[in-house]
């Protein structure tokens, strides 16, 4: 049986959050985005679907971008610091079915849009086994 070599070789840092100083390693990025991809697919994201992503710049944003791409979706990015009115307009104008966000005004804007499911990055990255 081959030995598994987790850790060590993929601790290369791919991102540093300038505000918090927290880092994201390549391994973390691969692992978290893989989990998020599966969660996006389970929530119905298919090839070519628009997925709204409204998150502050940082590791979560990178994970979300990679996950949406891997799931076959099209990233519709929304700056997290937009005012509520603009956000509402953009969200309602989109035909996205899924939104990745924990940003309050963006989540509120989903209310009268065609977004079915709003999900936070924490939710997407929590690996969940299949239920019994």
């Amino acid at each position: 049986m081959p030995s598994l070599t987790w850790g060590g070789m993929d601790e290369r840092i791919v991102m540093v959050d300038s505000v918090t100083g927290l880092t994201l390693t390549e391994e973390q990025l691969d692992e978290r985005s893989a989990t998020a991809t599966v969660q996006l697919r389970r929530r119905g994201v298919r090839d070519g679907d628009g997925v709204l992503v409204c998150l502050p710049a940082g590791p979560d944003l990178l994970v979300a971008f990679v996950a949406v791409t891997a799931a076959g979706g099209v990233i519709w990015s929304l700056p997290a610091d937009l005012d509520a009115g603009t956000l509402r307009e953009l969200v309602r104008g989109s035909r996205a079915r899924v939104m990745i966000s924990n940003v309050g005004p963006a989540v509120d804007a989903a209310d009268e849009s065609r977004v079915r499911v709003v999900v936070g990055v924490d939710d997407l990255c929590a690996p969940r086994p299949y239920p019994v």
């Binding site: 081959p2 598994l4 691969d30 991809t37 599966v38 079915r116």
Partner: protein, 806 residues
């Protein structure tokens, strides 16, 4: 298990249009999500979508898809009651109903559809959380304007139907409008398509708004409707100006449709809002016919409202969509009619239930089909009855409320839930009862005592029954007879046969004087039971036969079954098993007819036990299995324990002493867990025989093993002759490697080496994004949620690290 359809979903009232992708995605979600809540404003189509989703999930839920409609409920505690009612679960003595429900659902692969949770959202959240925690295979689909806000919930926001754009008009909203217009008898031609498009946009694709508009196409063109709806937005009256856009749009459409009604139609629609559930023409006439509407006009007015899609009609029963009902309630309030109507609703419910009660129980010489019809009718009124009782409590109409409780046999053991009736009685009695007569209070106490007996609260029940007897007016003969019979039951259960005899005699005497056949049968059955307790078998037989004769004269299947059961018990006591079985078997179809599932479970268990003693093993097995299934379905641990005792008898008569000990031990353990004591004589005898034949050690070991067994395992052991396998985790089905493509295999192999996406990309000369996609595909195929799981899987499934070749 019967092959009856394992769902209670209604048939589609008309074609379901659009939302194919949503249906597919939502159904897919249930593979991993426990709770999905469809959220959105009223009229957006949550219920219809949920029903459609659920209908496609019946195959995936072998234990059933169960719709629980909550819109008509006004009190949080009724959520538990309604779920239990739909599932056929009955309250167990001394145990919260929700515990019995979760126990019943523990291993069930079923989907509960909780429709219209918003007004009871807190209780719904608690109940769903409890169910999800205790019952791993159970799934919940809820519809609500507000989410439940619990951890396991996935909130799905239901959007309006797709709107036409500049390129295509062949979209869901237009399809729905045209479909419903066609149903109304109009087919807008191609020239009106631009107007239809404009209308769909004005109505924002809201299904209910589109339906209301389409229902008017016989008189107005789509263009005219669109113009008028546009005008509406500036005229909104019902506090809707500040509401979110979709809610405003919907309100505008409903107001528009309402304003187009003739005056009398408007009056009727708002009056119909007092009904909690669906209703028939008769009920509508009784409650809603008052100036300016005459009873004779209601049928036509209702027809008009159905044509305009404001009232739904299904096989002569009518109902309002919850959104329309809420609107109509508001209009009723504005018209200043709410109190009058709710009072009238309470009055009518009282009159009807009292009449049904008389027909079912009291009046002599009523043919059984008429009695059954009355019983069925009273059950149908349950949602309205709850609403009426609520009004009685809210408006201080304690007298009427109590009358309604007393008359509602549908809430009694045969048909309903005692927890509920006891709750209502206690709630009403806690209000100001100073206006009531002593007789009324006494009769109410009798009902309460009746409920408490079934809950095994014997002492309190006896006290109340005594108070009832002391307070009942001399002329209240039927209730007096009932209380005497109840006293007989209570006193016999408490081992006080002498006092019981007194009441049986008194009850019978009163019933004979007044020509009350029900209580004659009941009193004679009581005399027979007392004689049986005292070992006077011939006397018991004579009274029992007479009781059955009177019961037949009355015709009610429940009292007939009860007296036949009494005769069966007498026959058993004298060792005449053939007659005993015949008597129990006579009762079985009667209990089926009356829908008394608890009594039926008991009856089947008795037949099974006696058949086993007669060496009719096939019949015994069949009846005990049926009784066990019923005990499980209704959530009655006592019933399950009773079956285990029967199975123990069966096993011993078949010569399987080991099985007999196991089943008896499992029954004893189960009874102890619900605070009951087992009948020890048979167990001691059985253990004595086991010790002699199997040896002390073996008998003791079997007993402890049986006590530790689950009731289901113990039952299976006897029913199927199944040897219980040791509890071991079932190995997961190995995933066939051929599921993966060659490239995916290769990448899975590289993951075992701990390579990053970037490194794999470099090795395979593809982009990291492509690697990420492959990994997502692998995870999906293998059902994993992390890369590490793939690596472990690949390590186990590959002999050697793969080469980086295609």
């Amino acid at each position: 298990m019967p092959d009856s359809p394992r769902h209670n979903l209604p048939a589609d009232p008309n074609r379901f249009v659009g939302r194919e992708r949503d249906l597919h995605d939502l159904r897919g979600l249930f593979a991993e999500t426990r709770v999905v809540t469809l959220c959105g404003v009223g009229g957006i189509g949550k219920t219809r979508l949920a029903l459609q989703v659920a209908a496609g999930l019946t195959a995936a839920h072998p234990d059933g898809v169960w719709l629980v409609e909550l819109a008509g409920l006004r009190r949080p505690e009724l959520v538990d009651q309604e779920i239990a009612r739909v599932l056929g679960v009955r309250e167990e003595a001394g145990r919260p109903l929700l515990d019995t429900v979760t126990d019943r659902l523990r291993d069930q692969r079923c989907l509960l559809l909780l429709d219209n949770c918003e007004h009871l959202v807190d209780r719904c959240a608690e109940v769903v959380e409890a169910l999800v925690a205790a019952c791993p295979p159970v799934r919940v689909l809820a519809t609500s304007r507000e989410p439940l806000r619990i951890a396991s919930e996935l909130i799905w926001r239901v959007p309006p139907l797709d709107l036409p754009d500049d390129v295509t008009a062949d979209v869901e909203s237009v399809q729905l409008f045209l479909d419903r217009a066609a149903a109304a008898g109009t087919r807008p031609g191609p020239e009106s398509l631009p107007d239809v498009v404009r209308l769909c946009r004005a109505l924002d694709g809201l299904p209910l708004a589109l339906e209301l508009a389409a229902a008017r196409t016989r008189l107005l063109s789509p263009g005219q409707i669109a113009d008028r709806i546009d005008d509406r937005f500036s005229l909104l009256t019902t506090g809707g100006r500040t509401a979110p856009a979709r809610q405003r749009t919907l309100l505008a459409a409903v107001e528009w449709s309402y304003d187009l009604l003739a005056d009398k139609e408007q009056v009727l629609l708002r009056r119909l809002s007092v009904f909690a559930g669906d209703f028939d023409l008769d009920l509508a006439e009784r409650v809603c016919a008052r100036p300016p509407i005459a009873a004779g006009e209601i049928v036509d007015l209702l027809g008009g409202l159905v044509d305009k899609s404001l009232v739904l009609c299904d096989e002569s029963r009518y109902r309002l969509l919850e959104t329309i009902r809420c609107f109509a309630v508001e209009r009723l309030r504005q018209a200043g009619e709410q109190e009058q109507l709710r009072q009238r609703h309470l009055d009518v419910l009282c009159e009807l239930q009292e009449r049904y009660f008389q027909t079912e129980m009291v009046e002599p010489r009523v043919p059984w089909p008429c009695r059954l019809q009355a019983l069925t009718a009273t059950r149908t009124l349950l949602p309205d009855q709850r609403a009426a009782l609520d009004w009685a409590a809210a408006s201080g109409e304690v007298g009427l409320g109590l009358r309604l409780c007393r008359a509602s046999t549908g809430l009694y053991p045969i048909g309903g839930n005692l927890a509920e009736i006891v709750g209502w009685l206690e709630r009403l009695l806690a209000l100001d009862v100073s206006g009531l007569t002593e007789d009324e209070i006494a009769y109410t106490k009798a009902c309460l005592a009746y409920g408490l007996e079934t809950r095994d609260e014997l002492g309190r029940a006896l006290e109340l029954a005594r108070e009832a007897l002391a307070g009942l007016a001399p002329g209240s003969l039927f209730p007096r007879g009932v209380v005497h019979s109840l006293m007989v039951v209570l006193l016999l259960r408490m081992g006080r046969a002498d006092e019981a005899l007194c009441h049986a005699e008194q009850g019978l005497a009163i019933a004979e004087r007044s020509g009350d056949i029900w209580n004659q049968a009941s009193g004679l059955a009581g005399l027979s039971a007392v004689a049986l307790t005292r070992g006077r078998l011939r006397e018991a037989q004579r009274h029992g036969e007479e009781a059955l004769a009177r019961a037949r004269e009355h015709g009610h299947r429940w009292i007939m079954a009860r007296t036949a059961g009494q005769l069966g018990a007498v026959a058993e006591a004298r060792g005449d098993l053939v007659t005993a079985k015949a008597q129990y078997e006579m009762a079985e179809p009667w209990l089926r007819e009356v829908g008394g599932d608890l009594d039926l479970a008991r009856c089947l268990a008795r037949i099974g036990r006696v058949a086993a003693m007669l060496h009719e093993f096939t019949a015994a097995r069949e009846r005990l299995a049926a009784s066990l299934a019923l005990g499980r379905e209704t959530g009655q641990r006592q019933g399950v324990a009773r079956c285990l005792v029967g199975l123990s008898v069966l096993a011993e008569y078949e010569g399987d002493l080991e099985g007999a000990v196991l089943a008896a031990a499992a029954a004893a353990a189960l009874r102890e867990s619900i605070g009951q004591h087992s009948a020890t004589i048979r167990i001691e005898e059985l253990l004595g025989r086991a010790r002699t034949k199997l040896g002390d050690g073996r008998a003791a070991a079997l007993w402890s093993r049986g006590r530790a067994m689950s009731p289901d395992d113990a039952a299976r052991h006897v029913l199927e002759g199944e040897r219980v396998p040791p509890r071991a985790p079932v190995p997961a089905e190995p995933v066939r490697p051929s599921l993966l493509t060659a490239r995916e295999h290769e990448i899975a192999g590289l993951l075992t080496r701990g390579l990053s996406n970037r490194a794999i990309a470099a090795e395979l000369v593809i982009s990291p994004a492509t690697v990420a996609r492959h990994i997502a595909n692998i995870m999906e195929k293998l059902g994993y949620t992390s890369r590490a799981q793939i690596a472990v899987w690949a390590a186990e499934h590959q002999q050697a690290p793969p080469r980086a070749s295609a």
